[in-house]
Subunit: 134 residues, 2 copies
Amino acid sequence: MTGLQMRSTGCCQFNPKGRNKMSRPASSPKPPYYAVIFTSIRSEGDNGYSDMAERMEVLASQQPGFLGVESARDQNGLGITVSYWESLEAIRLWKAHAEHRIAQIKGQDEWYSHYTIRICKVEREYSFETQPDK
Amino acid sequence: MTGLQMRSTGCCQFNPKGRNKMSRPASSPKPPYYAVIFTSIRSEGDNGYSDMAERMEVLASQQPGFLGVESARDQNGLGITVSYWESLEAIRLWKAHAEHRIAQIKGQDEWYSHYTIRICKVEREYSFETQPDK
């Protein structure tokens, strides 16, 4: 997400309300679509981070053009969240969302010592899944 | 990476030998450049995964066009590795690397129950870092 690391919920499958979360890579539409890679280092302490992150996750999943999200935070503290969107405009609108803007400011003030956000166009995608008989 | 989840080493800074790893988002050149988002679920047991992952990490960092990597595996088992490359050709050459090909096959046979690989063009990037006086 742009400015707020979601909780490490694994990921949610692609659906407009962000329900049916599963700990597996998110399914996705045929490329092209867009990805926001948010890599972060948390500051010490929660400081309201968990509650706001949960709220932002719900809000994001309700945005037009939201496709899904995958998130993991390593034991060394590095977090990677990749959210997927139908268009750059959908990403722009979410970044500009009033409540999200407040979270972005709080993120810089209290939650993160460092983050990098990369806006990407997903050009190709392929998956592997173990077959039931394996 | 294409077919092999690297160890959860946080990330390494951008440099051709993949040294100077730090638990922070990777620095990167001015876009455009390319990202490979590799999201995976590990199978049970190590089965030689750690050794091969370490070997692949070294090999990848020696490939032409390698820029860096960020990796995290969540406690729920979802892993996200994002590797960065100068070009699609650099990604293609790494995917086709003979030893990496073997690892990709072993990954499907033994290490992963599911993975998704997304090839992306990084179009924009911006970062935040806490100032020393904060």
